[in-house]
Symmetry: C2
Subunit: 346 residues, 2 copies
């Protein structure tokens, strides 16, 4: 099977995906009888390029890493914006990893909708389209027989959504609990170690975990968006991020974190979705968890999720330290699973 893919976004994750596609080309062919060419590429500040015969991906990486534009790679009449590229570029699948506004889910939601309407499968690393428009986009995909997968939206490339799709069948998920935001988890770990909040935040920014504007993380917005993705996709809820009862970690001090440790507990920014009759309630808040809780030992930039179901008492998935490659890997797995039809008979 041959897949023509369009890539939207060529930041850390997009470029890591491009490198994975090059590095894994041989394995894709051998193990899955799959070849992939990238026919279109939309970047934030290095221009757009289409080549129906396949872009030179190594060349695109080199250009962007030198700070140059992709214009030399483009074939055909000029293309000036991402939506036109989605519509015009011959492709079977769109790989979406653009910048996200966490309060609106845009522009990623519009990109995903346009891609599905143009008959392309979609793989996105963006939480926004799923948190703000899952039912609409999934219905659109199903109606057209297309795949709409987004493993990398929660816990990077760790198989969380595929476990829901392939492992937690014919079961009722009663509760989901998670440590889903790296910035806050890193800061909470550093507070335990005696580092004051402002310094811990600066460290998180220095290692590239926290954004220059860390508000989205610190106030629990990123975590809220992720628990909404899990609740809507795996528990049949229809929540929006604003529905989540949300408290951030800005009130937590070194003294709080160390007192918890003395008591055999750790403060964690816990995301929860709980079935309550026909409803699902979701919350994000700092809580003290006992050491024996599988979520308690998830430190620094690790993340984890626990499912409680009517057939498995407790299933926990923990992901160790992550980087852009682990996120990109989730997108690669989604691509393979769409290529082999895992979106059918879901």
């Amino acid at each position: 099977m041959h897949m023509r893919a369009v890539m939207l976004g060529f930041g850390h994750v997009g470029r890591a995906l491009a490198r994975l596609l090059l590095r894994k080309a041989e394995v894709l062919r051998t193990d899955y009888d799959l070849t992939v060419t990238v026919t279109g590429l939309a970047t934030h500040s290095h221009g757009l390029a289409i080549n129906p015969e396949g872009l030179d991906l190594a060349g695109a990486l080199a250009l962007v890493e030198r700070g140059e534009r992709l214009d030399a790679l483009h074939v055909g009449s000029p293309v000036t914006d991402t939506l036109s590229l989605i519509e015009r570029c011959p492709a079977d699948l769109v790989l979406e990893a653009t910048w996200l506004n966490p309060h609106t889910g845009q522009p990623a939601t519009d990109y995903v909708r346009a891609a599905l309407q143009a008959g392309r499968h979609v793989v996105t690393a963006n939480k926004g389209p799923v948190a703000f428009a899952y039912r609409e986009l999934q219905a659109l995909a199903a109606e057209r027989g297309l795949g709409f997968f987004f493993e990398s939206t929660v816990m990077d490339g760790a198989p969380v959504l595929s476990v829901g799709r392939e492992g937690l069948l014919a079961t009722t998920i009663q509760r989901i609990r998670g440590i889903l935001n790296s910035t806050t988890n890193f800061i909470l770990t550093r507070l335990e170690e005696g580092t004051p909040f402002a310094e811990a935040l600066a460290e998180a920014q220095a290692i590239g975990v926290a954004e220059a504007d860390p508000t989205t993380d610190l106030e629990g917005w990123d975590a809220a968006v992720k628990i909404v993705v899990l609740a809507n996709v795996l528990m049949g809820a229809d929540l929006r991020p604003a529905d989540v009862e949300r408290t951030g970690i800005t009130g937590v001090t070194v003294a709080d974190a160390q007192q918890a440790i003395q008591a055999g507990e750790r403060i964690k920014l816990l995301c929860e979705a709980v079935r309550d009759g026909a409803q699902v309630r979701a919350s994000v808040r700092p809580v003290r968890l006992p050491f024996a809780d599988p979520l308690c030992q998830v430190s620094r930039t690790s993340s984890a999720v626990t499912f409680q179901t009517d057939t498995l008492h407790e299933l926990t998935i923990v992901e160790g330290d992550t980087d852009p490659t682990t996120t990109a890997y989730g997108m690669l797995v989604d691509l393979i699973n769409i290529a082999r039809g895992r979106h059918r008979l879901a």
Copy 2:
């Protein structure tokens, strides 16, 4: 889709599966358009029964729980042994959960082979056929377009093998580490709490975790069989349980366990499979793990596995306390996944 299933073994796991099939019948129909009838049932000491129209499963449960035989449910000429039942009973799939000899993998391996040769899909909860004959049985299944799934052989119904099949694609698993045996993990936890070995073992037997003859668990044989399943299926190895470097826990004392705790560590019976050039080496032995290791906090009858791969640095799956229903659930998930064709395009 309609599936006719034969059940082999009607002990704790087999009966829990029968109850799940009854309890989940409506969900199977609604969510997967799937109906299941059990056309044959082979028990260890309550006889065998075939009914091509479908056995009364609730009736079979009631008979066996009253200590009676299944003879009244049987239709047609007498059937006296399990292999004849496999061959004669009209069925699409065999659900295998019989007693296992962990040193030979029999008689389960013969049952699985006979079922595949008779053109039946196979779901087994038995480690034996996988640890002793995976390549042969998988080749036989593939050749005939049949499914051969065995999620419940390792960590009960936790999605470990399906994560390998659906989530860890196009990756190289470099190392697998696991806490895979409940009896030894329960005893090690009780040693930490100050309970002497013999008493801890008696407790494990009293709650039904340990067998009357606990040697297989204590000497690491059960753990060795499980790490062989993981190594052979997920790392492409071709090991047998006797190839595993194996040390049991009979030498571990309360003093050892408590000294480890003082040092911020726990003694665990660690299963490991490590890629070493073209080889895979496997071991089972008690080791001290630091508290921060995700496997360290896995206590009592919980179990866990960590994968290190070239694309995900560290992925851990932890299963909380288990019972026969969690094992049976893994078999139900395998059945659904075979019904929807997940054994194709593996």
